[in-house]
């Protein structure tokens, strides 16, 4: 298991290769990369800055991964979230889940992303032609997290 909060870029290929290196019991690796877009809510976005809550962030991410591991039988999980200033096209977040079979790998990967969107203390500030603005939380993200059922 690997959980990182970092300003540096990450490499999807290197992370997934590290998960499977030297083992032959993994049948499925589902992964996700979230990227900074050049457009959001109808405005051009020149750059964004990701703020977080050091200490709580690591704890919240570890809790997400633990929760996923309690729901599905997983062989490995990698979760990397970047902070600081990012440009359109830059990768923001990576989740990779290794399992014996694809169903649980897909489910756990999407679950971690959905929960991360509502529970991990990150905030995005965008630079647009109209000035800087904090991204507002989306009701659709709450709805996505809700479909996994209550567990508090």
């Amino acid at each position: 298991m690997k959980i990182m909060v970092q300003s540096a870029a990450f490499e999807l290929g290197a992370e997934v290769d590290a998960m499977r290196r030297g083992r032959s019991d993994i049948g499925a690796i589902a992964s996700f990369v979230g990227l900074a877009r050049d457009m959001n809510d109808g405005s051009d976005v020149a750059a964004m800055t990701l703020e977080h809550y050091p200490g709580m962030t690591e704890k919240a991410l570890a809790a997400l991964v633990e929760e996923a591991q309690s729901r599905w039988t997983l062989l490995d999980v990698t979760l990397i979230h970047r902070v600081g200033r990012l440009l359109p096209g830059d990768p923001i977040v990576l989740v990779a889940v290794a399992g014996s079979h694809r169903g649980e790998a897909f489910a756990a990967c999407e679950f971690i992303m959905d929960y991360l969107k509502t529970r991990a203390p990150f905030w995005k500030k965008e630079e647009t032609p109209e000035g800087e603005r904090w991204v507002e939380a989306r009701a659709s993200d709450d709805a996505a997290a809700m479909r996994w059922g209550k567990n508090d």
């Binding site: 979230g34 990701l50 703020e51 977080h52 809550y53 200490g55 709580m56 704890k59 919240a60 979230h81 923001i92 977040v93 992303m113 991360l116 969107k117 509502t118 529970r119 991990a120 203390p121 990150f122 905030w123 995005k124 500030k125 904090w134 991204v135 507002e136 939380a137 989306r138």
Partner: protein, 83 residues
């Protein structure tokens, strides 16, 4: 009781405060929020009941009726938008 209170993102900017140490007269998160609202101005506005904000105590998100403890780390922040 003595608390360390942190503010993040839009709230940090609006309140003009990233972190403070304060004495809280009450015993719950709601008591602390009421005490901060009583400062008036941006504090009253941003922490009003109809504003969406989250509170974490010792780095766990909690409800307004959660209890506080001596030297707790309390954080108040907008709904998260990472990922």
């Amino acid at each position: 009781m003595k608390l360390r209170v942190l503010y993040f993102a839009r709230l940090r900017e609006r309140l003009g405060c990233a972190e403070e140490t304060l004495d809280c007269a009450g015993s719950t998160v709601a008591d602390l929020v009421a005490q901060l609202q009583a400062r008036g101005g941006m504090w009253a506005e941003e922490l009003a009941a109809d504003q969406a904000y989250r509170v974490a105590v010792n780095q766990d998100i909690v409800a307004l009726d959660a209890a506080l403890s001596e030297n707790a780390e309390v954080a108040i922040f907008p709904p998260v938008t990472g990922g």
